[in-house]
């Protein structure tokens, strides 16, 4: 039985995806969507400020946040469910801070619910926000 206040707060993870990050991610998922690599097209045809950070890349950062959080307490985490939406686009080269907050925790089953988000420093409104259902377990168990 683990009490919720025995858990550290979720904390933050920082990433600053640049052109190479965006290209490498689009290559990894096999996507040629120009809004992630072609700034001329993205500015002139789609009327945006610059190329955009992919949504699933932000989601991957949010998952890493939760994994880092668990590892920092000698635990591992299984993300059972993740739900998220984008509220505003993130342009290439933007510093992102990923964070979250525990909203519930069951000390017997070690299952937890939390919020997760990506924010830009200085701006309280998340660019991407969501919720996750987690299952924590001691580090040795996989």
């Amino acid at each position: 039985m683990l009490a919720q206040d025995a858990l550290e707060p979720i904390g933050t993870l920082r990433r600053k995806p640049g052109n190479v990050d965006l290209f490498a991610f689009s290559a990894a998922i096999g996507m040629a969507h120009r809004i992630h690599y072609d700034s001329d097209y993205t500015r002139n045809v789609e009327d945006r400020q610059d190329i955009l950070v992919q949504g699933p890349l932000q989601a991957a950062y949010m998952c890493q946040l939760l994994q880092e959080w668990a590892a920092g307490q000698g635990m591992s985490v299984v993300i059972e469910r993740l739900k998220y939406r984008h509220r505003a686009p993130v342009h290439v080269g933007t510093e992102l801070v990923m964070g979250g907050e525990l909203t519930s925790f069951d000390g017997e089953s070690l299952r937890a619910e939390c919020t997760v988000w990506t924010k830009v420093p200085g701006d309280e409104t998340p660019r991407t926000e969501g919720t996750a259902t987690l299952s924590l377990r001691p580090r040795e168990e996989r």
């Binding site: 998922i29 989601a59 880092e68 469910r81």
Partner: protein
């Protein structure tokens, strides 16, 4: 007759429930490695990532790559394949809300079957005018039938 729709014809609406052909994806370690490095997971303080076991969001490779690997002449002006989509007078797309349920992690060397269907099509009004919300259901299963990922993915098109 129908509601006031400018982007979705009756022909487009008939695509609700459309099921794509099942696709088998052989997960290669280099697919996992590319994903892990492109998301900088190797830079975390947690233990060095195991590139034989895929991180949760890796399924996006299976949800994207098979459908976007088409002749370049079949890509739209925005670089996205419009193959097997309802006919709609739209040119730009962005991600809407996504909900994912995860089973066990995918493993290098295993074959995963990807099943996708169009769950819903709706026309909505936004600040920049009308747009279409298309919702896809994608399920990835192992060869023994374990459900590895279920995703409901909304895409905004205008």
């Amino acid at each position: 007759m129908t509601a006031d729709r400018r982007l979705l014809t009756d022909e487009a609406m008939a695509w609700v429930g459309y099921e794509y052909e099942d696709r088998d994806f052989v997960v290669a370690e280099h697919d996992i490695r590319r994903f892990v490095y492109s998301t900088r997971e190797d830079e975390g303080a947690a233990a060095a990532p195991d590139t034989r076991t895929a991180p949760p969001m890796f399924y996006v490779v299976l949800r994207t790559l098979p459908y976007q690997t088409v002749p370049l002449s079949d890509l739209g002006a925005d670089g996205v394949s419009n193959d097997e989509l309802p006919p709609m007078p739209v040119t730009q797309g962005m991600a809407g809300e996504i909900e994912i349920e995860f089973g066990r992690p995918m493993r290098a060397g295993e074959t995963v079957t990807v099943r996708r269907k169009i769950l819903d099509l709706a026309e909505k009004s936004g600040r920049s005018g009308p747009f279409v919300l298309i919702t896809f259901l994608t399920e990835c299963s192992s060869q023994s039938g374990e459900l590895l990922v279920r995703e409901r993915f909304g895409r905004v098109l205008r």
